[in-house]
Amino acid sequence: MAKLKIQDLKRIRDESKRTVLLREGTARAKVTIHMGTCGIAAGAREIMDQVLRLVEKHNVQDVMITSSGCAGMCSHEPMMTVEYRYTAPVKYIDLNKEKVTKIFEEHVLNGEPVPEYALGVGSESMY
C-alpha cells in the first residue's frame, strides 16, 4: 500500500461516499421495490436488478434502494415507490423495463414524477 498524502485521504473519502450515505441513511431519493412472494413471481427481482444496474450506469451515490413486502395490489405487480426528498412519494404500477428506465431517469435522477405510469401518491409503512 502506498504512503498516503492529504489528497489521498480526500480521494478515499469521496470514493466511499456511497458507503457513508448508505450507513448514515441519508439520501436524495429512495426507491422501494415491492417484493413479497407475489411481487417476485411477477418479476420484482428483475426490476430490482435493473434499478441497481441503472444506479451503476449513472454512477449515483445518494439514492437508497430498498425493498418491502407485498403492497396488497397483486394485480398491478410489479410495483415500485419513488420518494424524492421533500416531495410526496409516488407509487408506480404495472412496470416493465422501459417504464422503469424512464421513471429512473426522470423521477429518481431529476425529481420529476411520471404521472402516466403512477397509481397514486403516498407510501406504505414497512412495518
Binding site: M1, A2, K3, L4, K5, I6, L9, I12, R13, S16, K17, R18, T19, V20, L21, L22, R23, E24, G25, A27, I33, H34, M35, G36, T37, G39, I40, M48, D49, L52, R53, V55, E56, M64, I65, T66, S67, S68, G69, C70, M126, Y127
Partner: protein, 596 residues
C-alpha cells in the same frame, strides 16, 4: 457487479462475540449467497453498539432496522424474509419491557435516542479492521489539519475545548500537554492508558474494538503538539480482541504512511507500539504503569515529579486515557469551541458510562456531561430491573461511592460527584435495588482493593486488610458496637497516608455507604439482620404457611435436600441443612418462600 443496496452491520464487540456474533456473520453470508444476493448486500463487522443486554445484534442500513438477541437458527428466515422478500421480521426486533409492539428503527429506541455520540461516533458504523472505513467518515482529516497548525495552536484548541482526563482524575488535558511540551529534555514519550481495571468497566475496551484508528490519530496529533517521537499503548492482556484490533490499526497506519517517518508527506516522525499489562489493577495508575512499561514491578512512585516532567526513563511523558485520546481528532477537526459547547461549565464534552447492575438496559452509553442521573437510569436505562425499587447508584468503580435516591436529580460532572462523596472515575454506573446489601457492596470493593494493593504503603496494605476483616465480620453477623466508627477512622487514615490513588480513594465505597446507609450497618450489628435479605449468615429461609400449597417444587429444586413435606401439605425447610442458595425461591410459583 451490482452496486450494494443494503449493508448489514453485525456487532462484533467482545460481548456479542462471546454470544456468537462471528457465527451469525458466517450464517448471514451463507444465506445471502444462497439467494444470490451477495453483490447487492454486504455483511460488515463493526464494533460494540453499546446495547449489550440485547446481543447478538445487527443493524440493517439504510433502513436503520435493528434486530437483537439473534441466534444462528434465526438467520435463514431473517434473510429470506427481509433480504429477499423485503419483509422485516417483527419477532426479532426490540420490544421495550411492558410494551406489546416492537420498535423497528434503532433511532427510535429510548436507549439510543438520548445519547450523544462523540467518542463512540463510529460504533456500529464502520468495520474497525478497515482503514478505508475510518477515512470514509472523516478519519485522519483531523491529523491533516493538525499538520498545518503549530504545536502551540494545537494545544490551544485542546485547552479551549475544556477536555479533562477521562481516566477518572479529570485533570485538564491541554494544561498537561503544555507542561510536557515546555520540558527541555528529550526524547519525549506518549502513553495511552488502556489498562481499564475497574470491575465492570468496558468503555476503553469498546473504543479500541470499535474505532482503534481514533486512538492512533489522536496520538499522532499529540506527538506533533508535544514533540514526542515514540508512543506506547498499554492494554491489559485480558482484552484479546482489543489488542488484536489496535495492533492491526497500527500496522495499517504504518503501511499507509500515517506512522513512521514522513507522516502524510510532512516531516513528522512518530512510532507506536503495544505493551500488554496483565492482572494488576494498580498498573492502571500512571506511575505504576510506567514502571511496568520499563520492565519493573508495577508499584507507584512519589509525585512530583509528574510524568509530564519526568516519566519513562526519566524523560517527559504525556499519559492519557483511551477516551481522552479519542476526543482529540474531532477537537482539532471541528475546533475546541465545538466540544466546549457540550456539557457543563466545568466539565465539557461527553462521557461514556458503562451502565450495569439492576437496570433493564445494561450497556455502554455516551451522554453529555451535566445529564441527571435519573435520566440515565430511567430514560436510557429503562428503569430498575423487574420493576423493583431503586436504592442506590455506585459511580466511579472501586474509587467511587454510592449515591442514594435523593441524589437522582443531581447533574453528573466531576465536581458535583466529588462533592457528595463519590467521583466520576472511569465511568462505571452500577444500579442497585432494594435487594442489594450496601454493607456487602462496601465489602466487595474493599476486598478488591485489598487484593490489588501493591503493598508499598503500610497503611494501605494493612489498613485495607483490617477494613475487610471488619466488614466481613459485619456481614457474617459478628459485628460489634464501635465497628463502624473504627471503619471510618481506618478509612480516613488510609486515604490520608497512601501514596497513590488506589489507597487515596479506597475510603470512598466505605465512607459513602456509611454516610447514606448507616441504618443497614446498624441493623447488621445490633439486630443481626440484613435488611436487603442478602447476607447469607443473617437470613433464614422459611416457608409461609398461608401461601404454600404443597406442590413440592421447592423440595425437588433443593440441592441439599433441606425441604420436606407431604403432597398438598405445607412444606418445611430444615435451616440446619439450608445453604441459602435461593433455588427454592426461584421455582416457587406461590410466593411462599420467605427470606428474612
Amino acid at each position: 457487479m451490482k452496486p450494494e443496496r443494503t449493508h448489514i452491520l453485525v456487532c462484533t464487540g467482545t460481548g456479542c462475540v462471546s454470544a456468537g456474533a462471528f457465527d451469525i456473520m458466517e450464517a448471514l453470508k451463507t444465506e445471502i449467497k444462497k439467494h444470490n444476493l451477495q453483490e447487492e448486500i454486504a455483511v460488515v463487522p463493526t464494533g460494540c453498539n453499546g446495547f449489550c443486554e440485547n446481543g447478538p445484534l445487527v443493524l440493517f442500513e439504510p433502513e436503520g432496522i435493528f434486530y437483537r438477541r439473534l441466534s444462528v437458527q434465526d438467520i435463514p428466515f431473517l434473510v429470506e424474509e427481509h433480504c429477499l422478500k423485503g419483509r422485516p421480521v417483527p419477532s426479532l426486533m426490540y420490544t421495550p419491557p411492558k410494551e406489546k409492539s416492537p420498535i423497528p428503527a434503532m433511532k427510535d429506541i429510548e436507549f439510543f435516542k438520548h445519547q450523544r455520540l462523540v467518542v463512540l461516533r463510529n460504533r456500529g458504523r464502520i468495520n474497525p479492521e478497515r482503514i478505508e472505513d475510518y477515512i470514509a467518515f472523516d478519519g485522519y482529516m483531523g491529523l491533516a489539519k493538525a499538520l498545518e497548525m503549530s504545536p502551540e495552536e494545537i494545544i490551544r484548541q485542546v485547552k479551549v475545548s475544556g477536555l479533562r482526563g477521562r481516566g477518572g482524575a479529570g485533570f485538564p488535558t491541554g494544561t498537561k500537554w503544555q507542561v510536557c511540551r515546555e520540558q527541555p529534555r528529550t526524547p519525549k514519550y506518549l502513553i495511552c492508558n488502556a489498562d481499564e481495571g475497574d470491575p465492570g468497566a468496558f468503555m476503553d475496551r469498546s473504543v479500541l474494538e470499535a474505532d482503534p484508528h481514533a486512538i492512533v490519530e489522536g496520538m499522532i496529533i499529540g506527538a506533533k503538539a508535544i514533540g514526542a517521537e515514540q508512543g506506547f499503548i498499554y492494554v491489559r492482556t485480558e482484552y484479546p480482541l482489543a489488542v488484536q484490533r489496535i495492533k492491526k490499526a497500527i500496522k495499517q497506519a504504518e503501511e499507509n504512511g500515517l506512522l513512521g517517518e514522513g507522516i502524510l508527506g510532512s516531516d513528522l516522525k512518530f512510532t507506536l507500539s503495544v505493551v500488554r499489562g496483565a492482572g494488576a489493577f494498580v498498573c492502571g495508575e500512571e506511575s505504576a504503569l510506567m514502571q511496568s512499561i520499563m520492565g519493573h514491578v508495577g508499584r507507584p512512585k512519589q509525585r512530583p515529579p509528574f510524568p509530564a516532567q519526568k516519566g519513562l526513563w526519566g524523560k517527559p511523558t504525556n499519559i492519557n486515557n483511551v477516551e481522552t485520546w479519542a476526543n482529540i481528532p474531532q477537537i482539532i477537526l471541528k475546533g475546541g469551541e465545538w466540544l466546549a459547547g457540550l456539557g457543563t461549565e466545568n466539565s465539557k464534552g461527553t462521557k461514556i458510562f458503562s451502565l450495569v447492575g439492576k437496570v433493564n438496559n445494561t450497556g455502554l452509553v455516551e451522554v453529555p456531561m451535566g445529564i441527571k442521573i435519573r435520566e440515565i437510569v430511567y430514560g436510557i436505562g429503562g428503569g430498575v430491573l423487574g420493576g423493583r425499587k431503586f436504592k442506590a447508584v455506585q459511580t466511579g468503580g472501586p474509587s467511587g461511592g454510592c449515591l442514594p435516591e435523593s441524589m437522582l436529580d443531581m447533574p453528573i460532572d466531576y465536581e458535583s460527584l466529588k462533592s457528595v462523596g463519590s467521583m466520576m472515575g472511569s465511568g462505571g454506573l452500577i444500579v442497585m435495588d432494594e435487594k442489594t446489601c450496601m454493607v456487602d457492596v462496601a465489602r466487595y470493593f474493599t476486598d478488591f482493593l485489598a487484593h490489588e494493593s501493591c503493598g508499598k504503603c503500610f497503611t494501605c496494605r494493612k489498613g485495607l486488610e483490617r477494613m475487610l476483616e471488619i466488614l466481613t465480620n459485619i456481614c457474617e453477623g459478628k459485628g460489634k458496637e464501635g465497628d463502624v466508627e473504627l471503619l471510618e477512622e481506618l478509612a480516613i487514615m488510609v486515604r490520608e497516608t497512601s501514596m497513590c490513588a488506589l489507597g487515596q480513594t479506597a475510603a470512598n465505597p466505605v465512607l459513602s455507604t456509611i454516610r447514606y446507609f448507616r441504618d443497614e450497618y446498624d441493623a447488621h450489628i445490633r439486630e443481626a439482620i440484613c435488611p436487603a435479605g442478602f447476607c447469607k449468615a443473617l437470613i433464614t429461609y422459611s416457608i409461609l404457611e398461608d401461601k404454600c400449597v404443597g406442590c413440592g417444587a421447592c423440595a425437588r429444586a433443593c440441592p441439599v435436600g433441606a425441604i420436606s413435606g407431604e403432597k398438598k401439605q405445607v412444606h418445611n425447610i430444615d435451616t440446619g441443612k439450608c445453604i441459602e442458595c435461593g433455588a427454592c425461591a426461584e421455582v416457587c410459583k406461590f410466593d411462599a418462600i420467605n427470606i428474612a
